[in-house]
């Protein structure tokens, strides 16, 4: 009954059905649905497939990001299986929805660990999500966990490996560039949650270390959408660079008001390190013309990075539509993480947690979104190339790229 792409009914699905049939009459109609969400490889092996759990926000506020994560994981799975799998075993994805809701997430991640008994879990996008599910995976579940999103750093729990950019990676090269291409007077308008606080702490150090000055660092409620006071402060204090960590929904109106006040016209530089191809559409292109961002990948990188071009082309072919492959929402970290883990399992010749963690500690890949990447031994964070891009008429232009791999400086 299972076709090549492999949505299926399994033995575990049947017991679940039976349980439900007897317990809840309401589910009768529903249980005849699509079956459980496991994506089986087309072939098996003597030892059975390697089970990979993906826990991501398929629904809820950041569903667009979670779906991109699930898509890229499916793409990586196909690639790996097409080349014979890992250690001669195919990999099999178990995708669970964390629903942008931590309570639901814990229940769903338990399915991966306790019911499906996966060998590794990838996922989580926000830091609060990582915090919610990490215990279930790592401490109670004794399973390896790979976290793919750019974040504030400081996650140093053993058996958690981070494959997205850290504050050091997003600031060390970017802030000097901003000073050269903007000025020395910085404003740090921010949303009031953990990531901006920790990122700004680091950014301030780099700004001041390079002879710049922070004019103000302010935190606003997450749902604030009126920023005229902030804009006024930026204009009257002759700020050169706005290093923004205000997030949607506030960021749209903020950038619009800043544009209307004439900030960019008088030569001000707008910057925001989570801005990728998704967030680019929040404002009209002319309102954010010249916005600078620094990430591990932009679509524009594909012009002269053949590895990235291949992944991007493959993604666009398999998943046309509006769920795009972008760095700000963990999709690049997801691909990088899967490949690093593949390298580690291959070296360890086993999926045992200890062995894989030991190999993953120094794993390297020569090709990934944005180029090669390698884990920093003992740090469980990932060195990668970083790119500085500027928004130009609704797309990005790469204006600077790191010389080599940038150190995450964590743990």
């Amino acid at each position: 009954m299972s076709d090549k792409s492999g949505l299926r009914d399994s033995a575990s699905g049947m017991t679940r059905r039976r349980f439900l049939g007897s317990a809840a009459w309401t589910t009768g109609a529903i249980a005849t649905g699509a079956g459980s969400w496991a994506i089986r490889p087309a072939w098996g092996a003597a030892t059975g497939p390697i089970k990979v759990g993906i826990a991501t926000d398929l629904t809820g506020a950041i569903g667009y990001a979670g779906n991109a994560n699930a898509n890229i994981a499916k793409l990586a799975m196909k690639e790996i299986n097409a080349k014979g799998g890992i250690l001669g075993r195919p990999i099999e994805l178990y995708i669970e929805d964390t629903a942008s809701n931590e309570a639901t997430a814990v229940a769903n991640v338990r399915k991966l660990i306790q019911r499906d008994k996966v060998d590794v879990v990838f996922g989580g996008i926000t830091s609060s999500m990582r915090n919610a599910i990490k215990d279930v995976i790592v401490t109670r579940g004794r399973t390896l966990y790979i976290y793919p999103q750019l974040y504030e750093g400081k996650e140093c729990t053993p058996y958690i490996f981070c494959t997205g950019p850290t504050p050091a990676q997003q600031c060390d090269e970017f802030i000097p560039w901003l000073m050269k291409n903007g000025g020395k007077r910085f404003a740090l308008p921010s949303a009031n949650y953990v990531w901006p606080h920790v990122l700004n702490q680091y950014a301030r150090k780099v700004i001041e270390g390079n002879g710049g000055e922070v004019i103000f660092e302010e935190y606003y409620p997450l749902d604030q959408v009126e920023y005229s006071a902030t804009v006024n402060k930026i204009m009257t204090n002759k700020v050169d660079v706005v290093f923004n960590t205000v997030i949607p929904p506030g960021v749209g109106p903020f950038f619009k008001q800043l544009y209307e006040a004439g900030f960019t016209k008088r030569g001000g530089r707008l910057s925001c390190v989570y801005y990728d191809e998704n967030t680019l559409n929040i404002n009209a292109p002319h309102e954010i013309e010249g916005l600078a961002s620094c990430l591990d990948y932009f679509r524009a990188v594909t012009k002269d990075e053949p590895g990235s071009a291949r992944i991007q082309a493959e993604y666009d072919k398999q998943f046309p539509g509006n769920i795009v492959f972008a760095a700000g929402s963990a999709a690049t970290g997801m691909y990088r993480g899967l490949k690093l883990w593949q390298a580690a399992v291959t070296e360890a010749r086993s999926v045992d947690r200890e062995a894989v963690a030991k190999a993953l500690d120094h794993a390297k890949i020569s090709e990934g979104p944005g180029g090669p990447a390698e884990m920093v031994p003992g740090k469980r964070h990932c060195k990668m190339r970083m790119y500085t891009a500027v928004a130009k008429q609704g797309t990005y232009d790469i204006v600077a790229r790191s010389k080599g791999l940038v150190d995450p400086k964590e743990c």
């Binding site: 809840a24 589910t27 629904t59 929805d97 809701n101 309570a103 019911r115 609060s128």
Partner: protein
């Protein structure tokens, strides 16, 4: 169709024997359901029996969760004999505080006032937790160590299951006793005609404040159990979304019956589980439609499928 008592007995036997038949994963799943059932009970007590529309039960649940998480994180206290009484006390005290503000004013408050007041409390708690870095801000408090009983760990699984079940049975029995007592009859009177009860000389608002505080204490116990079971607390645990979910649990199962709240939790959690598996990208929408359909066409909840008529001596649903 069966009488409510038979339904209660059946559920009791099923829950008592369930771990023998289930794999560990399911035991943990059902433990969570039991804890949420406690929470739904606390709402049914105030709305179904005293007619107080509490849109803020999550406040007491979450506050107790945060307090036990802090006890575990900062004071290293994880003993079940300390943390659960502490959770109960936090729920009780906070609910009494809210009740004295909302209910014990000079004029008797309207249902809308209390509903919005409790909703505001829940919202304020959520915002406070998000902005307060001692509480971990947006990220909450992760990695709460396991609960202990003397030298032994009460870890998730069969032990925790029976702990939660014991609390659920005890609280359920206490609620049953409470609503059947003179106090419960007075509450029913208040719900049906408050002015007349006041005329009879009952201190109506005080009775309401008492039942509201008791319900707060129950939500507190649930919060303490939940925090240790899930291993983390986060701002949404205090917030409006969970508060609303609690109302849905009770409405879905049937309010004013106690057992209905428990059935509501079981049904919603199982349906969510199946839907999330079968339709990972649209399941919340399907769940929403399903809830709407049941509440529209079965206003007295799922319980009305099992129990045909009003039970003698029992009070009816959301009048």
């Amino acid at each position: 169709m069966m009488p409510a008592r038979a339904l209660e007995g059946l559920l009791l036997v099923v829950f008592a024997l369930l771990p023998l038949a289930l794999q560990p994963f399911w035991v943990i799943f059902v433990t969570r359901v039991l804890i949420l059932a406690l929470l739904a009970l606390s709402f049914d007590l105030v709305w179904g029996f005293a007619g107080i529309m509490s849109f803020g039960q999550a406040l007491f649940f979450g506050a107790a969760g945060y307090v036990v998480a802090l006890l575990a994180r900062d004071a290293g206290v994880t003993s079940v004999f300390v943390v659960l009484p502490a959770a109960l006390a936090v729920g009780l005290a906070l609910a009494f505080l809210v009740a004295s503000f909302l209910l014990l004013g000079r004029h008797p408050p309207s249902i809308t006032f209390v509903a919005l007041g409790t909703l505001t409390g829940s919202y304020a708690g959520d915002r406070l937790a998000r902005g307060w870095y001692y509480l971990g801000g947006q990220n909450g408090i992760p990695s709460i160590p396991p609960m202990t009983a003397g030298p032994a760990q009460v870890s998730e699984g069969v032990t925790y299951y029976y702990l939660a079940l014991a609390f659920l049975i005890a609280v359920y029995a206490a609620c049953r006793f409470l609503v059947g007592s003179q106090f419960g009859l007075a509450l029913a009177g208040i719900r049906i005609n408050e002015a007349r009860m006041a005329f009879f000389g009952y201190s109506v608002q005080l009775l309401k404040a008492v039942v509201f505080s008791v319900a707060g204490a129950i939500a507190g116990i649930a919060g303490g159990l939940y925090a240790f079971h899930e291993g983390f607390v986060w701002p949404n645990m205090l917030g409006v979304i969970l508060s609303t979910q609690i109302v849905l649990y009770a409405l879905f199962g049937g309010v004013g019956t106690l057992i209905g709240a428990v059935i509501g939790v079981i049904a919603i959690e199982i349906v969510s589980f199946v839907l999330a598996d079968a339709y990972p990208t649209v399941w919340p929408v399907i769940l929403g439609v399903l809830l709407l359909v049941v509440i529209l066409f079965r206003p007295s909840g799922l319980i009305s499928l099992f129990v045909p008529r009003r039970i003698p001596g029992e009070v009816d649903g959301a009048a």
